[in-house]
């Protein structure tokens, strides 16, 4: 049982070893792309001898030579290796894309086929096939390429340039140095250090190449318009395979010095849009966050606090100015300390920059730090963005009160300092005297002018009045007359009122006459008769005609009570009485 197992395992191993010695049948062309005046070699290779080799029909090509058969057979470390090749030399008939179809062969009774190969025939070339020099081969197989991330960036938008050296699989580079380092005029540039050259595989124009990244640079265009990138020029030593072979059968390499340049590139820099450009825009392009902070908001006077303006994010961080801090003038502010923490990598600058201001309040009170705005252009959304910080109020709790000269008074020349003992913010007033908002000015009003000028008019007026009075005082005769008239009028006033009513009028008239006599002659009503009146008046040197008139009026008064009297008579009696009284008064001594 055990032995059987072992045998089967050994058999299995043998079988697999036989299977691993696989048959290979391949077609290889010297070039897949050639000029119409060039030639092409195609090899059909197999690793085991076969029969009935059928080449494909080379319908689009002329067979210039072949088939040539070559065979090699050698043994290494007891292992045999065999190869047999059929070679044809072909010349294309015309331009175009052609397919060389499959070739078939029968090996060990089985039929094997190659893959079809597509050949691209282009226009005639200058040096057909002829002896290609090593430098020609080198220039065909070595390429220096500058890869630009964006060819139409905005002003101040980061772009990267990566220089790659492509080397084809056959050739090698033994030494290189930069001959001309490009200066990036009109750009702010930052070189990114490359640690060690890593060989990577990549494709260049559809063919497989190895490449190394030689140089990475981040650029920030500082000018708009078409800007030229100077090319990078490299001096390299290329190892090119020759047709000769060394004793081991490997192709001999010849070293060729070669200068390669990455062609100059043009960058079209777009200006930032004018539309919607904020007034506080200072050239920041990228993606940012903005923060204003203070180390404390409550403190005592003469203590210090830090206010920090910080911009963090991605973009041209050290190519713009931070917005300035504006604080109330009564705060002492020192020059800011600028800090940068910026890293540069292939996507541009990243990090944060900040200005730190040291502020020392001198007086107590509240000090607002007004909001600060920061604007930047976001090239991703192609729009301007603005971040506004919040207003911060610094409360200075204790300290001296500001002695600020009152500007109201200063314009008028009086300097007032604030009383230092009232160093607290005063409470509101609790009572109020209301006055109308619209007040009529007294000065220059009509009332003002009349009050100023009218008193002056009073001076001549008073003087004139005084003079008139003096004149009248001086006129003795006139005074007497005026006095008598006044007396008569005084006594007859009651009678005058009742003029027209017969009874009342004569009663009043009689009474008036009696009263007059009483006042003038000092007689009592009881001894009032006509004779006595006559005597008394005569004694006082009153003319007899006047006396008789007086008596007749008195008689009339008595008579009138019993006789009808007209209005006219009443008026006559009144006038007569007035006249008589005034005459008596004049003549009375």
């Amino acid at each position: 049982m055990n032995i059987k197992n072992y045998i089967s395992i050994i058999l299995l191993i043998l079988a697999t070893s036989i299977a691993s010695a696989q048959v290979k049948f391949e077609a290889k062309v010297s070039k897949k792309k050639l000029g119409v005046n060039e030639r092409l070699r195609i090899d059909f290779e197999m690793n085991k001898d076969g029969d009935n080799f059928v080449p494909p029909s080379f319908a689009d090509f002329d067979v210039v030579g072949g088939p040539n058969t070559s065979m090699s057979n050698y043994s290494r470390n007891g292992k045999r290796s065999y190869s047999k090749t059929y070679s044809y030399f072909l010349a294309p008939k015309k331009r175009g894309k052609f397919t060389i179809k499959q070739a078939t062969i029968e090996i060990d009774g089985e039929i094997y086929k190659t893959f079809p190969i597509t050949i691209n025939v282009t226009a005639a070339v200058d040096k057909p096939n002829g002896n290609t020099t090593a430098s020609d081969i080198a220039s065909e197989n070595i390429h220096l390429v500058a890869e630009v991330s964006k060819t139409n960036p905005y002003l101040n938008e980061a772009i990267t340039v990566v220089y790659k050296l492509y080397v084809s699989l056959e050739t090698g580079v033994s030494n290189w140095r930069e001959k001309d380092n490009p200066r990036y005029n009109d750009f702010w540039s930052q070189n990114i250090e490359i640690k060690g050259l890593n060989i990577e595989k990549g494709e260049y124009k559809g063919e497989e190449y190895r490449y190394v990244v030689l140089k990475k640079t981040v650029l920030y265009p500082q000018k708009t318009g078409e800007l030229k990138l100077e090319p990078l020029v490299l001096d390299i030593t290329v190892e090119v395979p020759t047709n000769r072979r060394d004793i081991f059968g490997r192709p001999m390499m010849s070293k060729v010095p070669k200068i390669v340049t990455a062609g100059s590139r043009t960058i079209n820099v777009k200006p930032l849009p004018e539309q919607g450009k904020p007034s506080d825009f200072k050239g920041a392009v990228g993606d940012y966050s903005f923060k204003v902070s203070t180390s404390k908001t409550q403190l005592n006077a003469t203590e210090s606090l830090q206010a920090k303006i910080e911009v963090a994010g991605k973009g041209n961080l050290n190519l713009f100015e931070l917005p300035k801090l504006t604080v109330p003038s009564s705060l002492e502010v020192y020059e800011p300390e600028h800090q940068e923490n910026v890293r540069t990598n292939l996507s541009g600058m990243q990090g944060r920059i900040s200005d730190t201001y040291t502020i020392v309040p001198q007086y107590r009170g509240k000090y607002p730090i007004p909001s600060i705005s920061f604007s930047y252009f976001d090239p991703d959304t192609e729009s301007y963005k603005r971040i506004t910080s919040d207003e911060i109020v610094i409360d200075v709790l204790e300290g001296p009160t500001a002695a600020i000269s009152n500007t109201e008074s200063s314009t008028e020349g009086i300097k007032q300092t604030i009383n230092p003992n009232t160093n607290t913010f005063a409470f509101i007033k609790t009572t109020s005297d209301w006055s109308s908002i619209k007040t009529e000015p007294f000065f220059k009003s009509k009332g003002f002018w009349s009050l100023v000028l009218l008193p002056f008019l009073a001076i001549p007026l008073a003087i004139v009045v005084r003079r008139k009075k003096d004149e009248r005082d001086a006129d003795v005769q006139g005074n007497r007359i005026r006095k008598a008239d006044r007396l008569a009028k005084k006594y007859l006033s009651a009678a005058k009122k009742t003029l027209g009513q017969k009874e009342a009028f004569y009663l009043a008239l009689e009474k008036a006459l009696h009263n007059y006599l009483k006042a003038k002659l000092n007689i009592e009503t009881s001894d009032f008769n006509k004779e006595k009146i006559e005597n008394l008046l005569a004694e006082r040197q009153v003319e007899s005609g006047v006396v008789s008139d007086f008596i007749s009026i008195l008689e009339n008064c008595e008579l009138a009570r019993y006789t009808p009297i007209t209005q006219v008579t009443m008026q006559n009696d009144y006038d007569k009485a007035a006249k008589t009284i005034s005459l008596i008064d004049k003549q009375l001594r």
């Binding site: 003038s329 509240k366 604030i418 007294f442």
Partner: protein
Amino acid sequence: MRALIILLLCCFNTIVFSQNDQSFSEANALYNNGKYAEAIDKYESILDSKQHSAALYFNLGNANYKLNNIAPSIYYFEKALLLNPNDKDIQNNLAFAQNMTIDAIDNVPVVGFSRIINNVVNTFKTDTWAKITVGGVLLFVVIFLAYHFSYTTSKKRIAFVTSIISLGIACFSVAMAFQKAGLDKKDNPAIVFAQESRVKTDPNPSSEEVFRLHEGTKVQVLETYEDWKKIQLSDNSTGWIPSNDIKLLKFF
């Protein structure tokens, strides 16, 4: 019985208290409770009734100061000072409010003879000078007549001297009244209300910027042209500012 009397007295008081006094005390209560915004609304409702007082403006300034409104608080304190120039509380709180302003402007002091004259002119208001004039004139007329009509030499002498003196006072104070009216006309202060305002060389937006002013700064308005006002600062620099950026103090 006593309670009834007190109640009646209270009712009587509320009737006597005008509407404004009531609003005023309500607003004061709001202020004391920290409701500054409501207090401001109440105070301003009093202003709508065309009545004002230094105390009202002072309280408005206080409430705005508590809310950190720089320009309005300075504006109202300055207004209160116009009505009551010698009030210590107003001056004190105005100094607090002015601490919040950003602009630092030097004062160019008025010196020499003009300062003395200004001092004298500013002793009284225009109307007070006018009243002194009227009083002086009346006194002069009365005493002059007394001089004219009195007969003894000593009386005449005294009356003459006093009448001349009072005439002198009247003439002097009328001159002062004119001077003060002229000063008042020239003195047209305003407060910057815009947070930041650009002052230009000419009254149009495209002209060159002279300087920038911030909220709360006091300026003197010299002249007006369309929507612009020519202003002067206390350091005598001048420029044109948009009318909307400032608020005149003497506009009642």
